[in-house]
């Protein structure tokens, strides 16, 4: 691992809470690591677990899924489904040997700009500790 390694994080944020939270962090001039590539989705409930797998395959060193707090979902219950599904995915990824530090899930509401900063810092820090995730890359495949 080179000293100036910067992890690549893909974050799936729900439109109604976490994306607005990240927006608030920006407008409030809260500084947070620039390693995250944000992908906005309408709800964490529509995050297909294969998104996470695909992100790791295509060069992400860590993945973050963030949505509304339980009970706050714009669609009433999308985040409850996501919690169950992605919880299982986390167990499965750990079992096949993907470092548990590479995949995180969080609840960040539209008013939690500071919490967003903390979540990103933690995710980036974890991915940095875990190191570059070369083993799973599509690009690694030669001829």
């Amino acid at each position: 691992m080179s000293a100036n390694y910067e992890p690549n994080i893909v974050a799936f944020l729900c439109n109604w809470c976490s994306y607005a939270g990240a927006d608030l962090a920006g407008t409030s001039r809260v500084q947070y690591p620039s390693n995250v590539q944000i992908i906005r989705v309408m709800c964490t409930g529509r995050v297909n677990p294969l998104y996470v797998v695909n992100a790791l395959q295509q060069g992400a060193d860590g993945v973050l899924v963030s949505g509304c707090h339980p009970g706050d979902c714009h669609y009433m219950e999308g985040n409850y489904f996501a919690r169950r599904r992605l919880g299982m995915l986390k167990d499965l990824l750990e079992f096949v040997g993907v470092d548990s530090r590479r995949f995180h899930m969080s609840w960040v509401s539209a008013s939690e700009g500071h919490k967003w900063k903390e979540v990103v810092e933690k995710t980036v820090e974890d991915a940095r500790e875990a190191g570059p995730f070369e083993g799973f890359r599509r690009r690694q495949i030669d001829w």
Binding site: Q58, R138, R139, W143
Partner: protein, 337 residues
Amino acid sequence: MSAMLLKKEKWPDFVGKLTGKKVWAPQGEGEEMRFAPVNEGEAPDLAYGNTRVPPKQAVFPQTETMFRFQVDGKEIEEPQLDQETVLLGVRPCDARSMAIVDKLFGWDENDPYYFKRRELVTLVGLACSEPGINCFCTSVGGGPAATEGLDLLMTDLGEDYLLEAVTEKGELLLKEAGDILEEAGDDRYKEKEKLAQAAAQKIKRSVDHEGIPEGLPGLWEDPLWQRVSASCLGCGTCTFLCPTCHCFDIQDEVEGFAARRCRMWDSCMFNEYSLHTSGHNPRPSRRERTRNRINHKYSYYVDKFDVIACVGCGRCINLCPVNIDIVEILRQVKEAL
């Protein structure tokens, strides 16, 4: 044909002489055997039945990159195929399969990817002394010591191997091995003949294919297809592990701007194999797909190339999860004729 003798203790020396060439041999344990590159300085152990995955992957890899390109560019980058490869311990049935598949890839237009690899590969065969229980090579034109498709045939004579060159490539190998070989006497050659005969005797299963190639088209709507395919799962095990199955699919794989075009094994047992863009599928169920598999091997191929596209290795019988047995199907076909 010149026959030479190799003492078994000199086997590592023989492998060591193959410098500059990549050596492939059966690797793995028990039933998980497959052909894979041998580490330098190692001599593979040849005491095995047959590999699960046939050696066709050495000339027709499961996934082959045809070229690479940038989505926004015009350049293409082609693979360098110049590595000479020696396959050690190929069973005569598998070698024969390559001779059969050559006809398909060389029909009309020569397939450059296939033939480039084919020219660079030397097949060193190993005659069977203990055929498996589902082997039936003798009834489709092969045999436990058949040489078709091979460059060099080895026979295990207990203390020694008898080496017989079949082609120039094989002669070359013998020449390169030089003084570690000994001249084989006539008696050793006879010993080998006897072993081959004994092995052929041990093959219990047989297919009587007389009349089948001509008769199959007439059985197109026969209820037998429904019967034999009812339990089919529609998986690709039989075709992927068949040494003569050669269907492939070509797809582009893109990641960002980097892309590659590759071809990979496909299987006529899959639904989307014959699925049209319109959504219509001319082989909509497992009945038609099973019928196609048998027809292709025992009728279409015979029509076109005058040889049955089945070498009797028994893999599809051994590994079918639901005991669909090609010998049994052919018996039923014969009955229905």
